[in-house]
Symmetry: C2
Subunit: 348 residues, 2 copies
């Protein structure tokens, strides 16, 4: 497409900038994923999951697949939150059916083995290339979202060397040697800023910061390691790109969602599945747009329950700035026909 990409006809951007489109924009977390046969085909062609992330041709293709099929209002760059630690020099691999593995970073001394922030771009250049291609390839009404993992969530994987139930290794470090742990968070905050700025320069129109394990933090640590890094990232981005909206996702923050947008400056907060919609309307929507939070299980089970719940969310949240989404990523078991039904329900 040669036409310049503007915001006038983008429902997602309009919502994030305080305008109210006639219906909420919709996209779904992990919308490019295993529930789609075309994704599985491209994934098989790519080789490993990381090969797919670093292949601009194929990463562009899988990002576009759900846009073609469902006409979502936003496309989100296909990548992984662990590319940043890899770009910082940490060894990363994926065990099929189990998830990511990393050579753990467990102490202040281990931090010395990591690269400097300015050196991450060499590894991440193919990701920026994917963003550039997407920026040229998307329909003009589709908003392009870039993203990164939040420093705390990325740190939980870096320290544990894998995903886990309670993020205990990172939590132990933050209590037992808080200065060293704060250095890791500082490094990740800087790297995240640098990474997101490059995505924006490559064409990302919105950026989202995924703090999937924010709910594992006690309240004082949540302020220190979830709120404060999100604020620093948002301020740094807006200092250079004041018009680029930032979406925060402090998953599991519970009552900690209240005040998160004000404290960090994000333009929208993504709500996990547990957040009550009336509470979101009353306690959150005056501070920022909200995004969420349909139970992804409903895209497996479908039926009336799916339609009724989607309608309910729109009824309660649709009078304020609202972006329709799930409360968690779509699962491999989801039925594309149910996604179709959902999109029809939201688009009206």
């Amino acid at each position: 497409m040669d036409a310049p990409r503007g915001m006038a006809d983008k429902a997602m951007l309009r919502t994030l900038r305080g305008d109210q489109p006639s219906r909420p924009p919709i996209w779904l977390m992990r919308q490019a994923g295993r529930y789609l046969p075309e994704y599985r085909a491209t994934r098989a062609e790519a080789g490993s999951f990381l090969d797919l992330c670093y292949n601009p041709d194929l990463a562009t293709e899988v990002t576009l697949q759900p846009i073609r099929r469902f006409g979502f209002d936003a496309a989100i760059l296909f990548a992984d939150i662990l590319l940043v630690p890899q770009a910082l020099g940490q060894k990363l691999w994926f065990v099929e059916g189990e998830g990511p593995r990393l050579e753990p970073v467990e102490s202040r001394e281990d931090l010395g083995r990591l690269k400097r922030t300015e050196d991450i771009h060499e590894t991440l250049e193919p990701v920026y290339e994917t963003v550039r291609r997407l920026s040229g390839a998307l329909p003009r009404e589709t908003t392009l979202i870039g993203f990164a993992g939040a420093p705390w969530t990325v740190a939980t994987y870096m320290v544990a060397g894998r995903g886990g139930l309670d993020q205990a290794p990172a939590r132990k470090w933050l209590y037992s040697e808080s200065e060293g742990f704060a250095k890791l968070i500082d490094l990740l905050t800087e790297a995240t800023i640098a990474y997101l700025l490059r995505q924006i320069e490559a064409g990302a129109e919105v950026v989202k910061v995924f703090d999937s394990w924010a709910g594992a933090l006690a309240p004082d640590q949540f302020q220190k390691y979830a709120v404060e890094p999100a604020r620093r990232i948002t301020v740094a981005i807006k200092a250079i790109h004041p018009d680029v909206p930032v979406i925060g996702f402090p998953r599991g923050a519970g009552a900690g969602y209240a005040g998160f947008a004000k404290a960090t400056g994000v333009d929208a907060v993504a709500l996990d599945t547990s957040v009550p919609e009336e509470w979101a309307r009353d306690a959150l929507q005056s501070d920022s747009a909200v995004q969420g939070n349909l139970d992804p299980i409903l895209l497996i089970t479908g039926g009336d329950a799916l339609v009724r719940r989607a309608e309910r969310l729109i009824e309660i949240l649709g009078d304020g700035p609202y972006i329709f989404n799930l409360g968690h990523g779509i699962t491999p078991e989801a039925d594309p026909a149910h996604v179709e039904t959902l999109v029809r329900t939201v688009k009206g």
Copy 2:
């Protein structure tokens, strides 16, 4: 002990009944557990974990161990939330180092294989015997807590046949065939009531209902499957034993904690680690007592951070009805010396 057990000198009961002792009572979730060498010795003697649960001698012993060592204000019956499904006829076993396994109950038809509520007591009689022995053996200032898993949480294990990350099997059932799933929740609600009433008759002075996976429910389902069963259980207990306090623990409820005590009638809500203390004071403590919510990781790491955080919780919550506890069970890695420090800090 022959002296009758009254409430006059029990800090825990006084707090739950709206009185304000000079300092918050303290006990810890899973205080009888693997972090204690004397527990590990008794556990080895017992054989399997289930053998320990069903052995009144040894279950009494492990319940008393942390009382002897630390002088906690409350003892909680040593048992497991999965004894109820086992008493209902579901096959249950534990895989060492992995956790519980059950023969899954996956459909309405499977419900027909379960026993009736009135038949659970035969299996559970040794648990009631443990409560009777504890009632006679505890120091008079120590409150005896009985407990059960909440219907939703127990159902997640019954349906999945094991513990899991997202409780997806139960969530799928509740959406895809909600009437059948509601029958399972009804059966568990009745069984839980019958179980807790027997514990009270055997000497439990307080009962706690653990809804460990409440946070996995979308808000509408949280009302239906967490709030409503907790209300029914509380009403049924108070109809017969109006003076027995009930503690609810809708772990991960986030903003759903607000209004939970009013909607269910519980006398206290146990707070998970993520709940901000100022919010608990402002939004919850006017409705009920609160209990919690120190990060259990601090009992691994210890030091100033432990003492400062405990003091902070007491400072913010200590002016209202407050029971000191963790936000989640104590871990096997916890250091008994740090528990000692914590108890000293709280008892002043």
